[in-house]
Amino acid sequence: MSKRMELEEAIKQFIRPGSRLCFSGNALHRAPMAAVREIARQEISKLKIVKTAGALDIDLLCAMGLVDTVDAGFVSYESVYGLCMHYRKGVEEKRITGNEHACYTVLCALRGAIMNVPFMPVHGLLYSDLLVENDYFKVVDDPFGGQEPVTLVKTLKPDVAIIHVHQADEQGNAIINGAKYDDEIIWRAADHVIITAEKIIPSLKGTYGKKTIDIPGFMTDAVIEVPGGAKPCSYEGLYEVDHRMLKKFLSGREKKDHQIWLDNYDQTDRKGLRQQAGGFRR
């Protein structure tokens, strides 16, 4: 049974207004940008985003007014490009709830989802206004009689994890080349997993031992072939950050500007349009 879908279809089927989402990669590396753009095109709103360290993925959806809450340890472009201004403005103007975590507590909150428990104990986080200001942390006594109080972080259960990978097969088996970042956590934590892949082959069966399958097919719901699907973010061994397109986005001021920016990617993100254009080799 093939799980192959078109991007438009997969985003429509699995992502709803208010969905809690996790994205692959870290900062400007291997974010599933084609899928993020498709969410923006479909204007699916009130999204809750969970990521240790996000950048363009979060900032684009904030710029489009589609974000309700961000749970993250760090939201910023790396040094050169500075803060995520759309996220920042949204939080400052109280349109967006910015739940600050330590990156670790994001991962522990996702561990809670993996283990289907309502909270996860976290050591080390004892001196911080984050504990005072936020109801997603609680400090309790140790029921086993230990003397130290225990900090708990409330579980965050993502509805969908979107992961951009190097190669996948039609059954949903996926191979990530290079750094895995937090992907091993998010595909286990989420209710549904959407894979976008640089390339889809009919079957990875029989390659065990030769290739390492990072995500087993039965855990994924949809696979979509999107060459360049992380652009303008980077992907190990394939492409670097596209600084020109990144600057172009950052220079956008209004939603109209961002929509024009999105249009630049229509033909590479959407297969239908790629085929119409006739220029895309399968």
């Binding site: 360290a53 050169v80 995520c84 600050e100 975590h101 001196y127 200001e133 290079g178 970042y181 670097e240």
Partner: protein
Amino acid sequence: MRDKMAYTTADMMTCAMSRLLQDGEVAFHGVSSHMPMVSMMLAKALHAPSMVHLNIPGGVNPSTLRNTSYSSAGTELVRHSESTFSLLDVFDLSIRGKLDVAFLGGVQFDQHGHVNASIIGTPDNLKVRLPGGAGSAVLIPTAKKAIVWRTKHDVRTFVEHVDFITTKGNLWKIVTPLCVFDYFKGRLVLDSIHPGTTVEEVKAQTGFKIHETEVPVNAAPTQQELNTLRKIDPNNLRAIEFK
């Protein structure tokens, strides 16, 4: 004055951080942490060959930064590594008290060693939503030694009281363009200054009272350090925060 020297502020800060690292230690840097990344590579090249270099993409002991164009969290750090150890593994390691050194950033610091990377203003009257403390809130309390660096040294950065305590804990040193602070008995004290500045200049640029009057001046980067820096960091990633 500093720019007349044969080295940059970034070189000085990178060398100062590198010298804080000891052979055999296990050390971590995160995203947007180019100077710490280069300082680790420098330490490994010079005096700490067995130091263990951990990072966000999960490469243990990346062998080169030469192909790194932009990031301190890129997969280049995995491509030529010796093995892998994920970000979650790094956090768990620190949480277990087994991470020797963590490099962390921050935006505001006060005399009590409080670190703010969260907000300017108050939660109810938010002026600036900062990027967030990333790993700091768990790494500064749990790493054996947390080294903080900041490329700005002014009275808005080093303040009497931070707006928000993102974290405090095992802060060990803060390295700035002017000096190194030591966190000692619950207070930031002036540890040393870089060549080309004075204790007076540091005092003028610091928003809390500095009691020390005479402190050592750090050695300028040596010729060996500078040569090695140019070799391991040909793209001058260490200066990226000054651009």
